[in-house]
């Protein structure tokens, strides 16, 4: 490539925002679940500012690795602000999360939260368990023992 084109491209790459996590909003959430049809899915809403979420993340990563062969998917959705995206990416890597990871970019959090689960206030941590048909089976709101989460998953596998 000639330097005439390469330099503007490099400059553009440096200036444009680099989205490292896929974005999801209220309409994309259903599509995201649909793409995992046939699998048991645990959606983990978390944030770098949520201490209990950070604590459970490595445990969820181990659970995911152990159950993946049984068609289980862990999906993480960070509720961080765009400015914290890199911190979220770093924490996911540090925790050993290798599955689908999203950053919420909802136009309105109120509508997004209600679309996920009308009874959910938005408090983190929050995990939602879906069966192979994509039906919400169980919500874990607040700090939950990993054994309780695994027991609910095992019933669906």
């Amino acid at each position: 490539m000639s330097p005439r084109f390469a330099i503007p491209l490099l400059l553009a790459a440096a200036v444009w925002p680099q989205h490292k996590l896929a974005s999801v909003d209220e309409s994309g959430y259903r599509a995201m679940l649909k793409s995992s049809a046939g699998s048991v899915v645990l959606v983990d809403f978390w944030a770098t500012w949520c201490a209990p979420c950070r604590k459970e993340m490595p445990l969820l990563a181990k659970l995911d690795a152990r159950l993946r062969q049984k068609r289980f998917h862990l999906i993480t959705i960070s509720a961080d602000e765009p400015e914290q995206e890199q911190a979220a990416v770093d924490y996911l890597a540090k925790s050993g999360i290798s599955g689908a990871a999203y950053l919420r970019r909802a136009i309105d959090d109120d509508k997004f939260i209600a679309a996920v689960e009308p009874k959910w206030s938005g408090a983190l941590p929050a995990l939602f368990l879906y069966d192979r048909q994509g039906k919400l089976v169980k919500s874990f709101l607040g700090e939950t023992e990993i054994a309780t989460i695994e027991a609910a998953i095992q019933k669906l596998l």
Partner: protein
């Protein structure tokens, strides 16, 4: 200035005030350590500055069992809150109102009815705020009107409750 009041006594104070038709009350559950709550410290000071002179009573509560009175006092001093923060002992008030996260707000009218429940506004970053939900609700109640959106949701830190026998 801080103080400890049991949830029921606080509830009673709110209800007596309402029964006397005194004022509208804004209750906000906050935390000393939750980054989302702390991102609203300045906005809470501004709310107090703008609405306390209009006769709105504010109750800033800390219901987290893992945050002590000393933590609450130190935090209030360090961030320069101009209002008292009350420790909601045994999260009794949080239970009564159904508060789940910080920062979470309630607007209670002169008759003691909850007219608004939810977020302070729609963005942690003040530069991205589009809906100042709590302000709109207070304005509506002060004007004797209807709150356009009486329930809202927001991402926040779960209130760490005292374990009680079920």
């Amino acid at each position: 200035m801080t103080g400890v009041r049991a949830g029921f006594a606080l509830y009673l104070a709110l209800m007596v005030g309402a029964a006397l038709g005194q004022e509208i009350t804004v209750v906000v559950f906050i935390s000393t350590v939750c980054p989302v709550s702390n991102s609203y410290n300045l906005r809470m000071k501004e709310l107090y500055r703008d609405y306390a002179p209009k006769g709105v009573k504010f109750e800033f509560l800390n219901a987290n069992q893992n945050e002590s009175q000393m933590d609450v006092d130190d935090h209030s001093r360090s961030v320069g809150f101009p209002f008292p923060v009350t420790k909601d002992a045994n999260n009794a008030m949080a239970d009564r109102l159904g508060a789940e996260y910080t920062p979470e707000s309630f607007v209670i009218d002169r008759e003691g009815a909850v007219r608004y429940h939810g977020r302070i506004d729609d963005a942690q970053n003040p530069a991205r705020v589009r809906h100042s939900s709590l302000r709109l609700a207070i304005d509506a109640v002060l004007a004797g009107g209807k709150v356009a959106q009486p329930e809202t949701k927001a991402f926040g830190c779960v209130i760490k409750r005292v374990r009680k026998p079920s």
